[in-house]
Amino acid sequence: MDIRTTTSQLYLDNVSVSFDGFRALNALSLAVEPGEMRAIIGPNGAGKTTMMDVITGKTQPDEGDVVFEGSIDLTRLDEANIANLGIGRKFQKPTVFDMHSVEDNLVLAIAADRRARANIKWTETPDEKSRIDRLLETIRLTPARGRLAGSLSHGQKQWLEIGMLLAQEPKLLLVDEPVAGMTDAETHQTAELLKEINREKTVIVVEHDMTFVRELGVKVTCLHEGSVLAEGSIDQVSANERVIEVYLGR
């Protein structure tokens, strides 16, 4: 195994994934620097979610390397290992634990020993409690802490999932379409929240909403048919002719 060490937080090199002969990712290469926030755009089916599946160990690439923190080969690890390395993920469809309270969702997510034995004996420490209180404030769900997560509105579920992501204290956050189904005000608040998170952590955001991406004001990568079509500032990318052709559709 000769993985070239890089300074990037995450480095995808020549990654390909096929489903029954269909290439969802096609020699995709991407480097994200520590502390960076990167927006990924691209038409439906471009392979954005598949890229996250590959990074988080849900899907094995047919070819290519996925390197975390310069030297860790993610393609050899499973979901739990990768999560415990400090890579957190928010799904496209909000997935919270519906039958648990908002608070318990955070209790499950909070960075702690994940082994079965430790969790049989677990009791909440004051430190964990105050971290959960702070998280509830951040995601504006303090009044709903005792409610079942299943009874939250769509936007609240998205926020709870972001809260769970933060609770994990990851180094790298992968956020898949966080503002889908949100009102304009909620979208704006989410952009603010992500920017705040980005002060300490590396973030990769997949999003369709161009106003939202513009508001983030970060480097943008446009995917198309499983590889990178264009990369640069939002103005550069949205002025790119190929991008206009395949994505913006004008």
């Binding site: 988080t56 849900k58 499973d78 979901e79 739990a80 999560a83 415990n84 957190g88 993920r89 799904f91 997935t95 919270v96 634990f97 519906d98 039958m99 648990h100 318990d104 209790v107 499950l108 997510a109 994940r114 082994r115 079965a116 969790n119 049989i120 004996k121 677990w122 009791t123 769970m164 994990q168």
Partner: protein
């Protein structure tokens, strides 16, 4: 403290434990202390029948732990129950000694009949009660561990898992039916004489076995409660509702599943071991796939994911079964059971206790909403 008692034993758990304790004392007392002429006297055959229900309740509890809380629908739990039963049966066989038809001090009757020259190695040690106790837990536990290790690591879930658990119990049934398997073939193990030196048929022994079954049920219940109310239990529910999400949080789902599945199999084994001396026989029909499915129906009827519901379901359905199968409706029992399952799935998907809990929560939520509304109005 690792298990705050208040968390583990909430009010309804205490009510449940009090009921089990009362049964453990009252049934034997009414049987042993009252004369047979008294209207309150509980005849010995009923003590054994109730004991059987309690064993079924423990089996149901073990199924609820994995199905109700972790979403593992085992349709082969009857196999672990039967294995525990066989381990106890082997102890009981070895207690017969020279009192058998062939009066062989070592070999049980069926072995003499089948021309065995010496005791098979896996029968060694079963003359000792502590050894048998160990095997009652160990044999189902090891089988479940090995089975679960392969199944959960390869991420077999849902219907596929249910089907392979059925296949497991079916394969064991075929094995145990064979004479050369060494467990008495289709006749199984029977004609027991003593347990710990007491006659298994005696009134006092029956009463003691009933009480022991109640103790095992209560213990199983407390263990399950301690687990499901801990953070471990929260992880189980998370796995049940969103397995892949749980993985992305960094939990090793297969270890959690393997742990509860193995524990649950051990509990089922204990239930089977207590069952055998009370019914007086264990044979391969206990491995029938239909038995395992019936046990799942008990849990569905009582309410999965409630523990007390599993116990209630097991007792109610088996009481109904006893009533029906001893009357003229006997040939229709299976249709009735099937109908009951369909009715519960359609009209009472939460089961009896689940529906009751849900109704109570709704009422509380409504009351909270009303009072907080009143509070805001007052504040204005």
């Amino acid at each position: 403290m690792a298990f705050p008692l208040i968390r583990v034993l909430d009010r309804s758990s205490l009510v449940f434990l009090a009921l089990v304790a009362a049964a453990a004392v009252i049934v034997p007392a009414l049987n042993l202390l009252l004369p047979e002429t008294s209207p309150l006297h509980v005849p010995t055959y009923l003590v054994a029948l109730f004991g059987k229900y309690v064993c079924y309740a423990l089996l149901a509890l073990s199924i609820d732990l994995i199905w109700g809380y972790c979403g593992i629908l085992s349709l082969g739990h009857g196999a672990f129950f039967a294995l525990g039963g066989y381990a106890m049966g082997m102890y009981l066989m070895r207690q017969i000694g020279t009192r058998g038809v062939y009066a062989n001090p070592i070999l049980p009757d069926f072995m003499v009949f089948l021309n065995y020259k010496e005791l098979p190695i896996f029968w060694y040690g079963f003359q000792s009660f502590p050894y048998a106790l160990l095997m009652i837990v160990l044999v189902p536990g090891v089988l479940a561990f090995v089975f679960g290790w392969f199944a959960f690591r390869s991420r077999v879930t849902g219907v596929y898992l249910s089907i392979i658990t059925q296949a497991m119990t079916f394969a064991l049934m075929l094995g145990f039916f064979r004479n050369n398997f060494g467990f008495g073939g289709n006749n199984g193990l029977t004609d027991f004489k003593d347990i710990l030196g007491f006659n298994v048929q005696a009134q006092g022994t029956r009463a003691a076995l009933f009480a022991a079954s109640c103790v095992a049920l209560a213990l199983g219940f407390v263990i399950c409660r301690a687990l499901v109310t801990s953070k471990f239990g929260k992880v189980l529910v998370a796995i049940r509702d969103a397995e892949s999400r749980t993985r992305f949080l960094g939990y090793r789902v297969e270890s959690y599943k393997l742990f509860v599945f193995t524990l649950s199999a051990c509990m089922a084994g204990v239930a089977g071991a207590l069952y055998v001396p009370q019914v007086g026989i264990i044979n391969p029909s206990e491995f029938q796939p239909a038995n395992s499915i019936e046990a799942v129906i008990w849990v569905a009827v009582g309410g999965r994911g409630t523990l007390t519901g599993a116990v209630l379901g097991a007792i109610l359905v088996n009481y109904a079964k006893t009533t029906f199968t001893t009357g003229m409706l006997a040939p229709y029992w299976l249709f009735l059971l099937g109908g009951l399952f369909i009715a519960v799935t359609l009209f009472l998907p939460r089961g009896i206790i689940g529906t009751f809990n849900h109704w109570q929560q709704e009422r509380l939520a409504k009351r909270d909403a009303v009072s907080s509304e009143a509070a805001t109005r007052a504040a204005e």
